[in-house]
Amino acid sequence: MSTPVATTPALSRRLLGGAGTDRAAHLARYGAPPHLRLDDLLQAVTESGLTGRGGGGFPTATKVRAVAAGSRKPVVVGNAMEGEPLSSKDAVLLTHNPHLVLDGLEVLARAMHAKRAILAVGPEIDAGPVTAAARGRRLDVVPLEGGFIAGQETALVNQLDGGAAMPRDPFTRVTESGVGGRPTLVLNAETLAQVALVARYGAAWFRSAGTGDDPGTSLFTITGSVASPGVVEAERGSVLREVLAPAEPLRPAAVLVGGYHGAWVPVADLDVRLTGAELAPYHATVGAGILHVLDGGTCPLDFAADVVAYLAGESARQCGPCLNGLPRLATDLKRLAVGVRDPDLPSEVRRMSALVTGRGACAHPDGSARFVASTLDVFRGHVSAHLGGWCPSGRQPLRVGRAS
């Protein structure tokens, strides 16, 4: 294992203190990336407790181990698709610190004797800096087609194999058979940057930030009703209110944690810590670090109806429950939002959310249903008010009236 170097970055400036595309400045700041054998790298990543920063939160070491166990040389893929409209942390990371992401990709590819190393970049990300940073490295930066689900592991593999950005049946995992039929390791761009740090400074250094159960730092994208939207880096397990503070929330009513596949934390609970355990009661996870602030003057049901209409439009239209169920959810939420006084609407929305869950090839129906269920839970009072013909956000009556 490598030993810590003198230039260990300060806490919470681990990822965003980069030197742009200048490799000499990058090396001066972080030191040269070590050449690690797979065993040593795996030991460091395992002990670090690093989990995926792309949304799933899966232990990185488990994934690496599964792919390395394959009999063929693997493919290592960095996922910088960032199809979630509320997220821009990978874009910021690849602008400010492209070398760190590429270091992580190279360290893994070398240790695993990979056939290929690829960084897949979505259309919302400026591929310029990372393409410049990739010169002279044995990896490919590949710009791909986007969309909300394009970063789903199987959709990404499909596109890299020359197909459409469509998920495939996950029965055979990409860790067994992915790009070109080879065992494929797909890790989010931020996860790769974290691997590059763990490889250099070791697990103990990594764990010096965050909590015992959830170590390290994460990037958070803060959007919505805030004075200064943007990307911040914070320790895992930080208090939500403190992570939001630099963005200066304006009249917050609730925070959507985890983006359009995420869940709401009401403003009364902003002192929750951003850990799996403390977010579990809200059915939220840190996910890809998206924090969207909803202000008290915006109707949450109207907001949710628009989000679900968008999500329905982003379905790959392959799986029946998603193709049919999400538009139904969007329609019923919109009816609730505009003031249709049908008392069966909330239970119908709940029933449909449960119906689509677990019945698709990718996480899209499940994530969309999670967001819908959370909206009904957290804004229960708001739902009742709408059914009574009143919107508390607009402080005005709704004029649609009873369902016929």
Partner: protein, 72 residues
């Protein structure tokens, strides 16, 4: 060891032959697609239903079904 039934949702077109052949295991949703009564993603095939399940796998016109052995 249990046997489970897996639906490839990218193939399934809601033909419904599996629902006909496995009424104890599968119902049908609002849109004509199979839905496991148990609510599981890949429902357990109960003892005594294995032959019917194999029959359903063979008869799916879109080859969207498969059976597999799982640890639990």
């Amino acid at each position: 060891m249990t046997t489970r039934l897996h639906v490839d949702w990218t193939r399934c077109d809601g033909h419904g032959s599996c629902v006909e052949l496995l009424p104890r295991l599968l119902g049908v949703d609002d849109f004509g697609f199979p839905v496991p009564h148990s609510g599981e993603r890949d429902p357990v095939v109960p003892r005594g239903e294995e032959d019917a399940a194999r029959h359903a796998v063979r008869n799916c016109p879109l080859m969207a079904l498969r059976m597999y052995d799982a640890a639990s």
